[in-house]
Symmetry: C2
Subunit: 214 residues, 2 copies
Amino acid sequence: MAIAAVRLNQLVETKARILDAAREAVALSGWKDAQIALIAARAGVATGSVYRYFDSKADLYAQVLALVSEREVAVVAAIVEAEGSASQCLVDAIYTFSVRAMRGRRLAYALIAEPCEPEIDAARLKYRAALADQIARLVRRGIANGEFVEIDANVAASCVTGAFMEALVGPLAPEAAPDSDAAKAIAQSIAGLAARMLFRHAAPELTRISRVSA
Amino acid sequence: MAIAAVRLNQLVETKARILDAAREAVALSGWKDAQIALIAARAGVATGSVYRYFDSKADLYAQVLALVSEREVAVVAAIVEAEGSASQCLVDAIYTFSVRAMRGRRLAYALIAEPCEPEIDAARLKYRAALADQIARLVRRGIANGEFVEIDANVAASCVTGAFMEALVGPLAPEAAPDSDAAKAIAQSIAGLAARMLFRHAAPELTRISRVSA
DNA sequence: TGTATTCATGAATTAAGGTTCACGATGGCC
DNA sequence: GGCCATCGTGAACCTTAATTCATGAATACA
Protein backbone atom coordinates (compact mmCIF):
# COMPACT_ATOMS: atom_id res chain seq x y z
CA MET A 1 0.00 0.00 0.00
CA ALA A 2 2.87 2.33 0.83
CA ILE A 3 4.49 1.52 -2.49
CA ALA A 4 1.19 1.91 -4.29
CA ALA A 5 1.03 5.40 -2.89
CA VAL A 6 4.42 6.19 -4.37
CA ARG A 7 3.24 4.89 -7.70
CA LEU A 8 0.12 6.97 -7.55
CA ASN A 9 2.23 9.93 -6.68
CA GLN A 10 4.31 9.40 -9.78
CA LEU A 11 1.21 9.39 -11.88
CA VAL A 12 0.11 12.63 -10.36
CA GLU A 13 3.56 14.08 -10.87
CA THR A 14 3.69 13.06 -14.52
CA LYS A 15 0.34 14.64 -15.13
CA ALA A 16 1.52 17.76 -13.40
CA ARG A 17 4.66 17.77 -15.49
CA ILE A 18 2.64 17.59 -18.68
CA LEU A 19 0.41 20.40 -17.50
CA ASP A 20 3.45 22.44 -16.59
CA ALA A 21 5.08 21.77 -19.93
CA ALA A 22 1.93 22.86 -21.70
CA ARG A 23 1.69 26.02 -19.66
CA GLU A 24 5.34 26.84 -20.16
CA ALA A 25 5.17 26.29 -23.89
CA VAL A 26 2.24 28.65 -24.20
CA ALA A 27 3.85 31.15 -21.86
CA LEU A 28 6.98 31.07 -23.96
CA SER A 29 5.65 31.38 -27.46
CA GLY A 30 1.91 31.11 -27.52
CA TRP A 31 -0.48 28.71 -29.14
CA LYS A 32 1.68 27.84 -32.09
CA ASP A 33 3.77 25.69 -29.77
CA ALA A 34 0.75 24.12 -28.19
CA GLN A 35 1.26 20.83 -30.04
CA ILE A 36 0.95 17.51 -28.35
CA ALA A 37 4.25 16.22 -29.70
CA LEU A 38 6.13 19.32 -28.53
CA ILE A 39 4.53 19.29 -25.11
CA ALA A 40 5.29 15.62 -24.69
CA ALA A 41 8.94 16.16 -25.58
CA ARG A 42 9.11 19.09 -23.20
CA ALA A 43 7.62 17.03 -20.41
CA GLY A 44 9.97 14.15 -21.16
CA VAL A 45 7.28 11.64 -22.11
CA ALA A 46 6.14 10.07 -25.34
CA THR A 47 3.42 11.60 -27.44
CA GLY A 48 1.04 8.78 -26.68
CA SER A 49 1.55 9.15 -22.94
CA VAL A 50 -0.20 12.47 -23.00
CA TYR A 51 -3.33 10.55 -23.89
CA ARG A 52 -3.01 8.44 -20.77
CA TYR A 53 -3.67 11.59 -18.78
CA PHE A 54 -5.85 13.70 -21.03
CA ASP A 55 -8.73 12.81 -23.32
CA SER A 56 -7.69 15.21 -26.03
CA LYS A 57 -5.74 18.30 -26.78
CA ALA A 58 -8.75 20.42 -25.90
CA ASP A 59 -9.04 18.62 -22.57
CA LEU A 60 -5.37 19.24 -21.79
CA TYR A 61 -5.63 22.94 -22.47
CA ALA A 62 -8.90 23.26 -20.69
CA GLN A 63 -7.06 21.98 -17.62
CA VAL A 64 -4.15 24.34 -18.20
CA LEU A 65 -6.62 27.19 -18.40
CA ALA A 66 -8.38 26.03 -15.27
CA LEU A 67 -5.13 25.74 -13.38
CA VAL A 68 -3.99 29.24 -14.14
CA SER A 69 -7.37 30.87 -14.12
CA GLU A 70 -8.59 29.49 -10.85
CA ARG A 71 -5.69 31.13 -9.09
CA GLU A 72 -6.42 34.48 -10.69
CA VAL A 73 -10.12 34.25 -10.04
CA ALA A 74 -9.39 33.34 -6.45
CA VAL A 75 -7.17 36.37 -6.04
CA VAL A 76 -9.88 38.60 -7.40
CA ALA A 77 -12.51 36.86 -5.32
CA ALA A 78 -10.50 37.49 -2.17
CA ILE A 79 -10.33 41.19 -2.95
CA VAL A 80 -14.02 41.27 -3.76
CA GLU A 81 -14.74 39.74 -0.35
CA ALA A 82 -12.48 42.16 1.45
CA GLU A 83 -13.59 44.88 3.80
CA GLY A 84 -13.96 48.37 2.51
CA SER A 85 -16.04 50.27 0.02
CA ALA A 86 -17.11 48.55 -3.17
CA SER A 87 -15.37 51.31 -5.07
CA GLN A 88 -12.07 50.62 -3.39
CA CYS A 89 -12.45 46.87 -3.81
CA LEU A 90 -13.21 47.32 -7.48
CA VAL A 91 -10.16 49.44 -8.09
CA ASP A 92 -8.01 47.06 -6.07
CA ALA A 93 -9.31 44.01 -7.88
CA ILE A 94 -8.63 45.44 -11.31
CA TYR A 95 -5.30 46.87 -10.30
CA THR A 96 -4.12 43.60 -8.83
CA PHE A 97 -5.34 41.59 -11.78
CA SER A 98 -3.60 43.96 -14.15
CA VAL A 99 -0.29 43.91 -12.34
CA ARG A 100 -0.35 40.12 -12.18
CA ALA A 101 -1.21 39.88 -15.85
CA MET A 102 1.64 42.18 -16.79
CA ARG A 103 4.00 40.03 -14.80
CA GLY A 104 3.14 37.04 -16.97
CA ARG A 105 2.56 39.04 -20.07
CA ARG A 106 2.93 36.36 -22.73
CA LEU A 107 0.85 33.83 -20.88
CA ALA A 108 -1.82 36.38 -20.08
CA TYR A 109 -2.01 37.39 -23.71
CA ALA A 110 -2.35 33.77 -24.79
CA LEU A 111 -4.97 32.97 -22.19
CA ILE A 112 -7.02 36.08 -22.79
CA ALA A 113 -6.71 37.20 -26.36
CA GLU A 114 -4.32 35.44 -28.69
CA PRO A 115 -5.95 33.81 -31.70
CA CYS A 116 -6.17 30.10 -31.10
CA GLU A 117 -8.14 27.06 -32.08
CA PRO A 118 -11.88 27.37 -31.64
CA GLU A 119 -12.06 24.60 -29.07
CA ILE A 120 -9.54 26.23 -26.80
CA ASP A 121 -11.09 29.62 -27.38
CA ALA A 122 -14.40 28.25 -26.20
CA ALA A 123 -12.76 27.13 -22.96
CA ARG A 124 -11.52 30.65 -22.33
CA LEU A 125 -15.05 31.90 -22.08
CA LYS A 126 -15.53 30.07 -18.79
CA TYR A 127 -12.59 31.94 -17.29
CA ARG A 128 -13.85 35.27 -18.52
CA ALA A 129 -17.29 34.48 -17.21
CA ALA A 130 -15.96 33.47 -13.81
CA LEU A 131 -14.06 36.72 -13.57
CA ALA A 132 -17.05 38.74 -14.68
CA ASP A 133 -19.11 36.95 -12.03
CA GLN A 134 -16.81 38.17 -9.32
CA ILE A 135 -17.05 41.69 -10.64
CA ALA A 136 -20.80 41.38 -10.84
CA ARG A 137 -20.97 40.51 -7.13
CA LEU A 138 -19.03 43.63 -6.34
CA VAL A 139 -21.24 45.69 -8.57
CA ARG A 140 -24.32 44.47 -6.75
CA ARG A 141 -22.77 45.38 -3.45
CA GLY A 142 -21.90 48.84 -4.70
CA ILE A 143 -25.37 49.38 -6.07
CA ALA A 144 -26.98 48.15 -2.88
CA ASN A 145 -25.07 50.57 -0.69
CA GLY A 146 -25.47 53.49 -3.04
CA GLU A 147 -21.87 53.81 -4.17
CA PHE A 148 -22.62 52.80 -7.75
CA VAL A 149 -25.16 53.95 -10.25
CA GLU A 150 -28.22 51.76 -10.52
CA ILE A 151 -27.71 49.58 -13.52
CA ASP A 152 -27.96 45.96 -14.56
CA ALA A 153 -25.12 44.28 -12.69
CA ASN A 154 -24.32 41.81 -15.44
CA VAL A 155 -24.08 44.42 -18.14
CA ALA A 156 -21.93 46.54 -15.88
CA ALA A 157 -19.68 43.63 -15.00
CA SER A 158 -19.24 42.84 -18.69
CA CYS A 159 -18.28 46.41 -19.41
CA VAL A 160 -15.79 46.55 -16.59
CA THR A 161 -14.27 43.19 -17.48
CA GLY A 162 -14.08 44.04 -21.16
CA ALA A 163 -12.53 47.41 -20.42
CA PHE A 164 -9.60 46.22 -18.41
CA MET A 165 -9.06 43.07 -20.45
CA GLU A 166 -8.92 45.00 -23.69
CA ALA A 167 -6.66 47.63 -22.24
CA LEU A 168 -4.32 44.94 -20.98
CA VAL A 169 -4.01 42.84 -24.08
CA GLY A 170 -5.56 44.72 -26.95
CA PRO A 171 -3.69 45.98 -29.96
CA LEU A 172 -3.09 49.23 -28.16
CA ALA A 173 -1.88 47.49 -25.04
CA PRO A 174 0.90 49.45 -23.43
CA GLU A 175 4.28 47.75 -23.33
CA ALA A 176 5.96 48.38 -20.04
CA ALA A 177 8.45 46.42 -18.00
CA PRO A 178 6.60 44.35 -15.41
CA ASP A 179 6.68 45.74 -11.89
CA SER A 180 8.13 49.00 -13.15
CA ASP A 181 6.65 52.27 -12.02
CA ALA A 182 5.30 52.77 -15.51
CA ALA A 183 3.52 49.42 -15.42
CA LYS A 184 1.99 50.25 -12.06
CA ALA A 185 0.86 53.59 -13.36
CA ILE A 186 -0.80 51.94 -16.34
CA ALA A 187 -2.53 49.46 -14.09
CA GLN A 188 -3.76 52.36 -11.98
CA SER A 189 -5.05 54.16 -15.03
CA ILE A 190 -6.91 51.13 -16.20
CA ALA A 191 -8.37 50.40 -12.79
CA GLY A 192 -9.35 54.00 -12.27
CA LEU A 193 -10.98 54.29 -15.65
CA ALA A 194 -12.87 51.03 -15.53
CA ALA A 195 -14.16 51.70 -12.04
CA ARG A 196 -15.27 55.21 -12.95
CA MET A 197 -17.99 53.71 -15.10
CA LEU A 198 -19.87 52.83 -11.98
CA PHE A 199 -19.13 55.55 -9.46
CA ARG A 200 -22.15 57.56 -8.63
CA HIS A 201 -19.98 60.50 -7.72
CA ALA A 202 -16.74 61.30 -9.47
CA ALA A 203 -13.79 59.86 -7.61
CA PRO A 204 -11.46 62.68 -6.65
CA GLU A 205 -8.38 60.49 -6.56
CA LEU A 206 -8.67 59.51 -10.19
CA THR A 207 -7.28 62.83 -11.29
CA ARG A 208 -4.08 62.07 -9.47
CA ILE A 209 -3.92 58.59 -10.95
CA SER A 210 -4.52 59.83 -14.45
CA ARG A 211 -1.75 62.40 -14.11
CA VAL A 212 0.68 59.70 -13.13
CA SER A 213 -0.03 57.75 -16.31
CA ALA A 214 -0.22 60.65 -18.70
CA MET B 1 -13.88 46.32 -75.98
CA ALA B 2 -17.57 46.54 -75.19
CA ILE B 3 -17.72 42.78 -74.91
CA ALA B 4 -14.55 42.71 -72.86
CA ALA B 5 -16.22 45.10 -70.45
CA VAL B 6 -19.14 42.73 -70.08
CA ARG B 7 -16.74 39.91 -69.41
CA LEU B 8 -14.89 41.95 -66.82
CA ASN B 9 -18.17 42.78 -65.23
CA GLN B 10 -19.01 39.12 -64.93
CA LEU B 11 -15.74 38.48 -63.20
CA VAL B 12 -16.47 41.23 -60.74
CA GLU B 13 -19.96 39.87 -60.23
CA THR B 14 -18.75 36.37 -59.62
CA LYS B 15 -16.30 37.61 -57.05
CA ALA B 16 -19.05 39.59 -55.40
CA ARG B 17 -21.29 36.53 -55.42
CA ILE B 18 -18.64 34.49 -53.66
CA LEU B 19 -18.13 37.22 -51.07
CA ASP B 20 -21.87 37.42 -50.54
CA ALA B 21 -22.17 33.68 -50.22
CA ALA B 22 -19.41 33.66 -47.64
CA ARG B 23 -20.99 36.49 -45.67
CA GLU B 24 -24.41 34.86 -45.78
CA ALA B 25 -23.09 31.51 -44.68
CA VAL B 26 -21.42 33.06 -41.67
CA ALA B 27 -24.44 35.23 -40.92
CA LEU B 28 -26.62 32.15 -41.02
CA SER B 29 -24.72 29.70 -38.92
CA GLY B 30 -21.31 31.01 -38.06
CA TRP B 31 -17.84 29.79 -38.77
CA LYS B 32 -18.65 26.12 -38.91
CA ASP B 33 -20.19 26.75 -42.34
CA ALA B 34 -17.26 28.81 -43.51
CA GLN B 35 -15.91 26.05 -45.72
CA ILE B 36 -14.70 26.68 -49.21
CA ALA B 37 -16.74 23.84 -50.70
CA LEU B 38 -19.95 25.04 -49.05
CA ILE B 39 -19.37 28.63 -50.03
CA ALA B 40 -18.65 27.62 -53.61
CA ALA B 41 -21.84 25.59 -53.80
CA ARG B 42 -23.81 28.46 -52.31
CA ALA B 43 -22.31 30.87 -54.83
CA GLY B 44 -23.03 28.45 -57.66
CA VAL B 45 -19.42 27.91 -58.69
CA ALA B 46 -16.97 25.06 -58.36
CA THR B 47 -14.67 24.75 -55.38
CA GLY B 48 -11.63 25.52 -57.46
CA SER B 49 -13.16 28.68 -58.85
CA VAL B 50 -12.98 30.31 -55.46
CA TYR B 51 -9.22 30.22 -55.87
CA ARG B 52 -9.44 32.21 -59.07
CA TYR B 53 -10.66 35.11 -56.99
CA PHE B 54 -9.04 34.61 -53.62
CA ASP B 55 -5.57 33.49 -52.64
CA SER B 56 -6.75 31.41 -49.75
CA LYS B 57 -9.54 30.89 -47.32
CA ALA B 58 -8.00 33.43 -44.99
CA ASP B 59 -7.87 35.95 -47.83
CA LEU B 60 -11.52 35.38 -48.65
CA TYR B 61 -12.62 35.96 -45.08
CA ALA B 62 -10.32 38.88 -44.62
CA GLN B 63 -12.19 40.48 -47.50
CA VAL B 64 -15.54 39.54 -46.05
CA LEU B 65 -14.49 41.14 -42.79
CA ALA B 66 -13.26 44.23 -44.58
CA LEU B 67 -16.48 44.54 -46.52
CA VAL B 68 -18.69 44.45 -43.49
CA SER B 69 -16.39 46.25 -41.12
CA GLU B 70 -15.59 49.20 -43.30
CA ARG B 71 -19.24 50.10 -43.34
CA GLU B 72 -19.48 49.93 -39.57
CA VAL B 73 -16.30 51.87 -39.03
CA ALA B 74 -17.55 54.47 -41.47
CA VAL B 75 -20.80 54.82 -39.55
CA VAL B 76 -18.90 55.32 -36.32
CA ALA B 77 -16.48 57.70 -38.02
CA ALA B 78 -19.37 59.81 -39.25
CA ILE B 79 -20.73 60.10 -35.73
CA VAL B 80 -17.29 60.91 -34.39
CA GLU B 81 -17.04 63.72 -36.92
CA ALA B 82 -20.46 65.06 -36.12
CA GLU B 83 -21.22 68.34 -34.41
CA GLY B 84 -21.88 68.37 -30.72
CA SER B 85 -20.09 67.55 -27.53
CA ALA B 86 -17.59 64.75 -27.45
CA SER B 87 -19.65 63.17 -24.70
CA GLN B 88 -22.75 63.09 -26.83
CA CYS B 89 -20.82 61.81 -29.86
CA LEU B 90 -19.31 59.05 -27.79
CA VAL B 91 -22.64 57.88 -26.45
CA ASP B 92 -24.16 58.09 -29.93
CA ALA B 93 -21.33 56.19 -31.54
CA ILE B 94 -21.48 53.32 -29.07
CA TYR B 95 -25.25 53.22 -29.07
CA THR B 96 -25.45 53.17 -32.85
CA PHE B 97 -22.77 50.54 -33.15
CA SER B 98 -24.53 48.38 -30.59
CA VAL B 99 -27.95 48.68 -32.17
CA ARG B 100 -26.58 47.88 -35.60
CA ALA B 101 -24.72 44.89 -34.22
CA MET B 102 -27.86 43.57 -32.57
CA ARG B 103 -29.79 43.98 -35.78
CA GLY B 104 -27.42 41.53 -37.49
CA ARG B 105 -26.85 39.50 -34.39
CA ARG B 106 -25.50 36.29 -35.83
CA LEU B 107 -23.09 38.00 -38.19
CA ALA B 108 -21.98 40.48 -35.56
CA TYR B 109 -21.39 37.68 -33.10
CA ALA B 110 -19.30 35.80 -35.64
CA LEU B 111 -17.31 38.87 -36.58
CA ILE B 112 -16.72 39.99 -33.02
CA ALA B 113 -16.62 37.07 -30.68
CA GLU B 114 -17.33 33.61 -32.00
CA PRO B 115 -14.41 31.20 -31.72
CA CYS B 116 -12.89 30.74 -35.14
CA GLU B 117 -9.69 29.76 -36.84
CA PRO B 118 -6.63 31.70 -35.70
CA GLU B 119 -6.00 33.17 -39.13
CA ILE B 120 -9.44 34.66 -39.35
CA ASP B 121 -9.30 35.75 -35.75
CA ALA B 122 -6.12 37.65 -36.50
CA ALA B 123 -7.93 39.54 -39.26
CA ARG B 124 -10.54 40.68 -36.75
CA LEU B 125 -7.94 42.61 -34.85
CA LYS B 126 -7.64 45.13 -37.68
CA TYR B 127 -11.32 45.84 -37.40
CA ARG B 128 -11.15 46.30 -33.67
CA ALA B 129 -8.12 48.53 -34.05
CA ALA B 130 -9.84 50.68 -36.66
CA LEU B 131 -12.80 51.08 -34.38
CA ALA B 132 -10.62 51.91 -31.40
CA ASP B 133 -8.84 54.50 -33.54
CA GLN B 134 -12.10 56.32 -34.13
CA ILE B 135 -12.86 56.26 -30.44
CA ALA B 136 -9.37 57.53 -29.68
CA ARG B 137 -9.94 60.56 -31.89
CA LEU B 138 -13.06 61.36 -29.99
CA VAL B 139 -11.30 60.91 -26.69
CA ARG B 140 -8.63 63.40 -27.72
CA ARG B 141 -11.29 65.90 -28.66
CA GLY B 142 -13.04 65.45 -25.34
CA ILE B 143 -9.85 65.83 -23.40
CA ALA B 144 -8.85 68.90 -25.39
CA ASN B 145 -12.07 70.73 -24.67
CA GLY B 146 -12.21 69.69 -21.03
CA GLU B 147 -15.17 67.33 -21.23
CA PHE B 148 -13.13 64.26 -20.44
CA VAL B 149 -10.67 63.46 -17.72
CA GLU B 150 -7.06 63.84 -18.71
CA ILE B 151 -5.79 60.42 -19.50
CA ASP B 152 -3.82 58.62 -22.16
CA ALA B 153 -6.15 58.56 -25.16
CA ASN B 154 -5.07 55.14 -26.38
CA VAL B 155 -5.57 53.48 -23.03
CA ALA B 156 -8.93 55.17 -22.72
CA ALA B 157 -9.97 54.13 -26.21
CA SER B 158 -8.99 50.54 -25.48
CA CYS B 159 -11.06 50.57 -22.33
CA VAL B 160 -14.08 52.02 -24.06
CA THR B 161 -13.84 49.66 -27.01
CA GLY B 162 -13.30 46.67 -24.78
CA ALA B 163 -16.19 47.66 -22.57
CA PHE B 164 -18.84 47.85 -25.23
CA MET B 165 -17.51 44.93 -27.25
CA GLU B 166 -17.48 42.64 -24.24
CA ALA B 167 -20.87 43.79 -23.13
CA LEU B 168 -22.22 43.00 -26.58
CA VAL B 169 -20.92 39.46 -26.69
CA GLY B 170 -23.51 38.15 -24.27
CA PRO B 171 -26.54 39.75 -25.90
CA LEU B 172 -25.25 38.85 -29.37
CA ALA B 173 -24.65 35.19 -28.58
CA PRO B 174 -27.00 32.93 -30.55
CA GLU B 175 -28.47 31.47 -27.39
CA ALA B 176 -29.58 34.85 -26.10
CA ALA B 177 -33.17 35.78 -26.83
CA PRO B 178 -33.51 38.40 -29.56
CA ASP B 179 -35.76 41.18 -28.41
CA SER B 180 -35.48 44.53 -30.06
CA ASP B 181 -36.95 46.58 -27.21
CA ALA B 182 -34.57 45.03 -24.77
CA ALA B 183 -31.82 45.50 -27.35
CA LYS B 184 -32.27 49.25 -27.35
CA ALA B 185 -32.25 49.37 -23.60
CA ILE B 186 -29.10 47.29 -23.45
CA ALA B 187 -27.46 49.47 -26.08
CA GLN B 188 -28.33 52.52 -24.00
CA SER B 189 -26.93 50.96 -20.87
CA ILE B 190 -23.74 50.01 -22.58
CA ALA B 191 -23.25 53.37 -24.23
CA GLY B 192 -24.01 55.24 -21.03
CA LEU B 193 -21.70 53.11 -18.96
CA ALA B 194 -18.78 53.06 -21.35
CA ALA B 195 -18.90 56.78 -21.88
CA ARG B 196 -19.07 57.48 -18.15
CA MET B 197 -15.51 56.27 -17.83
CA LEU B 198 -14.38 59.50 -19.38
CA PHE B 199 -16.81 62.15 -18.26
CA ARG B 200 -15.22 64.71 -16.05
CA HIS B 201 -18.55 65.45 -14.47
CA ALA B 202 -21.25 62.84 -13.97
CA ALA B 203 -23.76 62.84 -16.80
CA PRO B 204 -27.20 63.51 -15.38
CA GLU B 205 -29.04 61.70 -18.16
CA LEU B 206 -27.42 58.37 -17.41
CA THR B 207 -29.71 57.83 -14.46
CA ARG B 208 -32.68 57.86 -16.79
CA ILE B 209 -31.00 55.49 -19.20
CA SER B 210 -30.05 53.09 -16.47
CA ARG B 211 -33.63 53.00 -15.19
CA VAL B 212 -34.88 52.03 -18.63
CA SER B 213 -32.56 49.05 -18.74
CA ALA B 214 -32.94 47.92 -15.18
C1' DT C 1 -13.32 29.64 -88.90
C1' DG C 2 -8.95 28.91 -86.44
C1' DT C 3 -6.38 29.69 -82.56
C1' DA C 4 -4.83 31.51 -78.23
C1' DT C 5 -6.15 32.87 -73.91
C1' DT C 6 -8.80 32.92 -70.10
C1' DC C 7 -11.96 30.80 -67.04
C1' DA C 8 -14.57 26.86 -64.80
C1' DT C 9 -14.54 22.37 -63.07
C1' DG C 10 -14.30 19.00 -59.19
C1' DA C 11 -11.83 14.86 -58.24
C1' DA C 12 -7.40 13.96 -56.50
C1' DT C 13 -3.73 15.56 -53.71
C1' DT C 14 -1.59 17.54 -49.77
C1' DA C 15 -0.68 18.99 -45.34
C1' DA C 16 -0.56 19.08 -40.55
C1' DG C 17 -1.38 17.38 -36.41
C1' DG C 18 -4.27 14.93 -33.43
C1' DT C 19 -5.05 10.27 -32.07
C1' DT C 20 -4.47 5.31 -31.81
C1' DC C 21 -2.52 0.92 -30.74
C1' DA C 22 0.40 -3.16 -30.69
C1' DC C 23 4.22 -3.97 -28.18
C1' DG C 24 7.68 -3.76 -24.47
C1' DA C 25 8.83 -2.40 -19.71
C1' DT C 26 7.80 -1.87 -14.97
C1' DG C 27 5.83 -2.47 -10.59
C1' DG C 28 2.73 -4.91 -7.43
C1' DC C 29 1.12 -9.18 -5.54
C1' DC C 30 1.11 -14.11 -4.05
C1' DG D 1 10.08 -16.10 -9.28
C1' DG D 2 6.00 -15.94 -12.06
C1' DC D 3 1.86 -13.56 -13.40
C1' DC D 4 -1.22 -9.76 -14.07
C1' DA D 5 -2.35 -5.06 -14.50
C1' DT D 6 -0.83 -0.76 -15.60
C1' DC D 7 2.04 2.48 -17.86
C1' DG D 8 5.22 4.20 -21.53
C1' DT D 9 6.39 4.29 -26.35
C1' DG D 10 6.43 6.46 -30.96
C1' DA D 11 5.64 5.25 -35.53
C1' DA D 12 1.64 4.63 -38.23
C1' DC D 13 -2.93 5.94 -38.96
C1' DC D 14 -6.82 9.15 -39.57
C1' DT D 15 -9.36 12.99 -40.33
C1' DT D 16 -10.67 17.10 -42.27
C1' DA D 17 -10.56 20.56 -45.29
C1' DA D 18 -7.77 23.49 -47.86
C1' DT D 19 -5.56 23.60 -52.15
C1' DT D 20 -4.11 22.11 -56.78
C1' DC D 21 -4.25 20.92 -61.56
C1' DA D 22 -5.24 18.35 -65.78
C1' DT D 23 -9.01 18.83 -68.64
C1' DG D 24 -12.52 21.00 -71.21
C1' DA D 25 -15.49 24.95 -72.45
C1' DA D 26 -16.09 29.61 -73.65
C1' DT D 27 -14.57 33.81 -75.45
C1' DA D 28 -11.78 37.34 -77.99
C1' DC D 29 -9.65 38.39 -82.00
C1' DA D 30 -7.74 37.87 -86.71
